[in-house]
């Protein structure tokens, strides 16, 4: 996967570059906003990781210009500003996701993967199938091996997020944002509690658990079911 990394801080960029390279990605680095804009327009990338505060041209400005000239590449905005208004600004300007600095490398990777996987067709699909689990978005029903499973609304949404990202890691903060709309981290483990109930329901009468816990990273739906 080809990634444009626009980040002016050498240390942060170095960490990300080596980490992403280890995962087998090709990373092109831009050290300022002008360079990021040029590269973003002239070359093709699978994802652009854009820092908000950069010399020469601000990240948000680069973002707006890229979108204005029709660059549809998924863009992940990095920022040290976690303010309430800042997030809205970023998404309004056309960012696909938003990560507040400092962040865990695994969080960034999980979100990047989720962005790339987000094929337009899956957004409009009314049925998602992963392994023997079928999720019907219209009737809001779930079956495993044709056996209906009764889920609470939030458990259903949790499963939907997992299934849309099947085979990829979904982090705790991604759940909080996508299921609850919370951009903060409650000290109470509401994600874990809901997930454990969801898993118990999915497991009941079956031998295996379709959801894996990746310690310190998040959760993953096994794409083979």
């Amino acid at each position: 996967m080809r990634i444009l990394l626009a980040e002016d801080d050498d240390e942060t960029a170095g960490h990300l570059e080596s980490g992403l390279s280890e995962l087998g990605h090709a990373v092109v680095r831009a050290t300022d906003g002008e360079a990021a804009l040029e590269l973003g327009i002239s070359e093709r990338f699978d994802v652009i990781v854009l820092d908000r505060m950069m010399p020469k041209r601000e990240g948000l400005d680069v973002l707006r210009r890229l979108r204005a000239v029709g660059v549809g590449t998924p863009i992940l905005l990095l920022t040290a500003k976690g303010g309430i208004g800042d997030r809205v600004d970023g998404l309004d300007a056309g960012a696909d996701d938003y990560v507040v600095k400092p962040f865990a490398f695994s969080e960034l990777v999980a979100r990047m993967n989720a962005l790339i996987r987000r094929a337009p067709s899956s957004d409009t699909a009314t049925r998602i199938e992963v392994g023997d689990i079928v999720l019907d978005l219209l009737r809001r029903t779930v079956t495993r091996a044709s056996r209906p499973i009764a889920l609470q609304p939030r458990e259903f949404t949790l499963l939907e997020v997992l299934m849309r990202n099947a085979g990829k890691v979904v982090t705790r903060t991604m759940f909080l944002e996508q299921v609850w709309g919370f951009h903060f981290d409650p000290q109470t483990n509401i994600v874990e509690s809901h997930l454990s109930r969801l898993r118990a329901k999915l497991r009941e009468g079956f031998l295996d658990d379709p959801i894996e816990t990746l310690r310190g990273l998040g959760y993953r739906m096994r794409s083979d079911g």
Binding site: F182, T188, H194, R197
Partner: protein, 440 residues
């Protein structure tokens, strides 16, 4: 001249003077003209009456008869008489008049003593072409007019004098009243933030301005104090986790699990920063931009339902009583965080088996959101301190948390125009958030 133009007091005084002067001038001129016309009209009527009187006498139709008539009847002495022949020569009468035209006119006439007198002259043409003129002393009219003009002129001059003095006084008054405000601003510029504008209790416009100024200064001082507090809190409260982090780092490679612990400590510090920044953001104001109409009942229902499984997992019992259809104008995420912090707080600081109750109800003008537990509670002295930043009760030293959760609750409540109170729920603790009801 420059100071004149730049002085509001002078501008006010001059404007006021010009308006007053115009009023007096208009009034004076008006009175003058009306009086002039009225007096003249009266005099002309008298003259007409005299002319009639003479003309109605016997033989009025020719000059000789008229002359005789004049000599016979001298009238009451108020009038002078003159007769002119058709060629304009004076042929009789006691007054030395210039040859008048027919009708009325004013003229200046030399009297017997040789002094100029202003006369009003009425003339008629007799049947034989002679003209009969009756003149009446008109100089008293001038006297009257002078008498009218004098007070107006005096008023005008004294008005000018009063206004000049008034302008000077107004300037010094304004300067005097503004001086405390200017002095306060100067004192604050030079660093003395404690300085305030002295305000009199009776309270005129300047006192009102001074009070508003003082309120603003109080707010600024509050924010500065807040900032100072946060800085010193950060410096103080970050030392502990930092020292622990350093200790753990030192044990890396020598103790099992040290690596994990270092990461945890790092996360903890990050969360601390996030909480501090969040509180600072909420307290900084300007959040109203993000406010929208929120179905608070539905939001609280969602938070309660989301927390229920987790609370069951930690062996707490959770219940909620939520009045339906309560709306509020606010920030959805902050209100959600307010509720989660209250529930987090109740869960963390109470033992297993405690019942936690979230309640939302509306009152006349306010909303009441409360979270209560039947745990061990908090002593009366300690209760108000719970809302202080970084405050951790003795009993909770060993539980997780950074002492900022309830501070954020208080900040969010304040940002929505509400308040937080900490009560005893006998035996547990009840934290009540009161928010103003928006709309109706």
């Amino acid at each position: 001249m420059a100071s004149f133009r730049s002085s509001a007091a002078y501008r006010i005084a001059v404007t006021y003077t010009v308006i007053c002067a115009w009023t007096i001038l208009l009034l004076g001129a008006g009175t003058w003209f009306v009086a002039d016309r009225e007096i003249r009209r009266e005099r002309d009527q008298d003259i007409t009456a005299e002319l009639d009187r003479i003309a109605r006498g016997p033989g009025w139709e020719n000059a000789k008869a008229a002359l005789r008539q004049i000599q016979v009847e001298r009238g009451d002495g108020r009038f002078g008489y003159a007769l002119f022949d058709a060629r304009g020569r004076q042929i009789g009468g006691d007054a030395d008049l210039p040859r008048p035209r027919s009708g009325f006119e004013s003229a200046s006439v030399r009297d017997d003593k040789g002094s100029q007198r202003s006369m009003r002259i009425g003339t008629i043409v007799l049947a034989d072409g002679t003209r009969l003129a009756v003149a009446s002393d008109h100089s008293e009219l001038e006297e009257v007019k002078k008498k009218i003009l004098v007070p107006f002129l005096a008023a005008f001059c004294s008005l000018l004098a009063i206004n000049v003095l008034g302008g000077l006084w107004l300037r010094s008054y304004l300067l005097n009243r503004l001086k405390p405000i200017t002095a306060t601003a100067d004192a604050i510029v030079t660093g003395d933030i404690e300085w305030r504008v002295p305000v009199a209790s009776e309270g005129d416009e300047f006192d009102a301005a001074g009070r508003a100024f003082n309120l603003m200064l109080d707010r600024i001082a509050g924010l500065m104090e807040n900032l100072r507090q946060v800085s010193s809190d950060i410096a103080h409260d970050l030392r502990k986790p930092l020292i622990r982090l350093l200790l753990q780092t030192d044990r890396l490679g020598r103790t099992d699990g040290a690596e994990q612990r270092v990461l945890e400590l790092g996360d903890e510090m990050l969360m601390l920063f996030t909480s501090i920044l969040r509180i600072a953001e909420v307290e900084g104001g300007g959040l109203e931009r993000s406010f929208e109409l929120i179905e608070l009942s539905a939001l609280m229902e969602e938070v309660a339902e989301s927390f229920a499984p987790a609370l069951v997992d930690s062996d707490h019992a959770m219940d909620w009583i939520i009045e339906p259809d309560i709306d509020i104008v606010g920030n959805r995420e902050l209100l959600a965080q307010l509720a989660t912090n209250l529930l987090d707080n109740a869960r963390i600081h109470t033992p297993a088996g405690t019942e936690i109750l979230l309640r939302l109800e509306s009152e006349m003008t306010t909303l009441r959101l409360s979270v209560e537990d039947n745990g061990p509670g908090v002593s009366e002295e300690e209760r108000p301190k719970l809302l202080q930043r970084f405050y951790r009760s003795e009993a909770s030293r060993t539980t997780p948390g950074n002492g900022l959760g309830l501070s954020l609750v208080a900040a969010v409540a304040r940002a929505h125009g509400g308040s937080v109170s900490v009560e005893s729920a006998d035996p547990g603790l009840r934290i009540v958030v009161t928010l103003p009801r928006s709309g109706g």
